[in-house]
């Protein structure tokens, strides 16, 4: 997920950026309200982690602008003050959650994940990548127009890869997000399930050759969806039906 950290304290801003990157997010950091709005307009984030006390334009002004211009971005507000009125005002201005300083990075990270999970529930249920269509409400997957039967875990793995839109997903990240397991569990299970997925996706498209997999290995790191330009496969005739011999 793309995260924009808006924090005027340089040390804290950089620590949060570093930590959220370690968690697998794509993170930008800016130190004032004006830059936050500019950066959000250039690269709309999925989540903004917003400190309230900011130079140039304070956090509540940023929240107001975000509501008008980028309502689809979720916002987690950080503050060093404890007034209830301030929290109520921010929530009324569209903030999704609130965290008081001092806080633990682990709590911040858990709250970010919770916001992103809630956000996913209301997101467009259809994910598309090249020749693959996934409907998360109907729990269906089509490859080049042909239905692919997946187990719950295979579905979750493919969904995570699709949501990352061609960016590399590390094995430890996949273990954590898809299996909710610690890296010590071992990444072999990820490799095994990637093999299952590749087989099932290839099986419904007989025109695909070995090496044409839509899931690409990033050596030493993990996996990503292959660029859609190279995996574009024409919609096959008679979707859902076996192909005639020689087709």
């Amino acid at each position: 997920m793309r995260v924009l950290v808006v924090e005027d304290d340089r040390a804290l801003g950089l620590f949060l950026q570093k930590g959220l990157k370690l968690e697998g997010h794509d993170v930008d950091w800016v130190g004032d309200g004006e830059s936050a709005l500019e950066r959000a307009a250039e690269r709309p984030p999925d989540l903004m982690v917003l400190d309230l006390s900011l130079p140039q334009r304070d956090g509540t002004e940023v929240l107001e602008e975000m509501q008008e211009r980028l309502a689809e971005t979720s916002v987690l507000v950080l503050t060093g003050r404890s007034e209830i009125e301030e929290r109520v005002r921010c929530l009324n201005l569209g903030a999704d959650d609130f965290l008081m300083k001092p806080f633990s990075f682990h709590e911040l990270s858990a709250r970010c994940r919770a916001i992103l999970r809630r956000r996913e529930r209301f997101a467009n249920p259809v994910l598309r990548w090249g020749s693959i269509d996934m409907n998360r409400t109907e729990r269906t997957v089509f490859h080049a127009g042909r239905a692919v039967e997946l187990t719950v875990r295979e579905f979750a793995l493919l969904e995570f890869l699709l949501r990352r839109g061609g960016e590399c997903c590390t094995r430890s990240e996949l273990l954590r997000e898809v299996w909710q397991a610690a890296p010590e569990v071992g990444a072999n299970v990820v490799d095994v399930y990637i093999t299952y997925l590749r087989r099932k996706l290839a099986a419904v498209v007989p025109v695909m050759e070995a090496g044409d997999s839509v899931i690409e290995t990033v050596r030493g790191l993990g996996y990503r969806m292959r660029s859609s330009r190279t995996t574009e496969i024409p919609l096959l005739p008679f979707a859902g039906q076996p192909l005639a011999k020689g087709a």
Binding site: D9, A11, L12, F15, L16, K18, G19, L22, G80, R81, K101, P102, F103, S104, F105, H106, L108
Partner: protein, 74 residues
Amino acid sequence: MTLRDRYVREMEQGLHDLCQPVTSLQCRLELGRMADDEASLREAVDESLQETRRIFAAIAGIRERLLGCAGEKE
């Protein structure tokens, strides 16, 4: 404004100033632990020491504020 109100306001401001470096220190140490290699841990310790300096400065600020209040008459 009563002396008590002044105290409360100054303490609130002091705590606010203290929150920033305490949060930085907490997050920095947690990140150091997450990285789990010696170089990262050493870097975390060095940067954490910088944060403790900021905490000392914030505490000195609180002392000054309270002394300022104590010198005032109701």
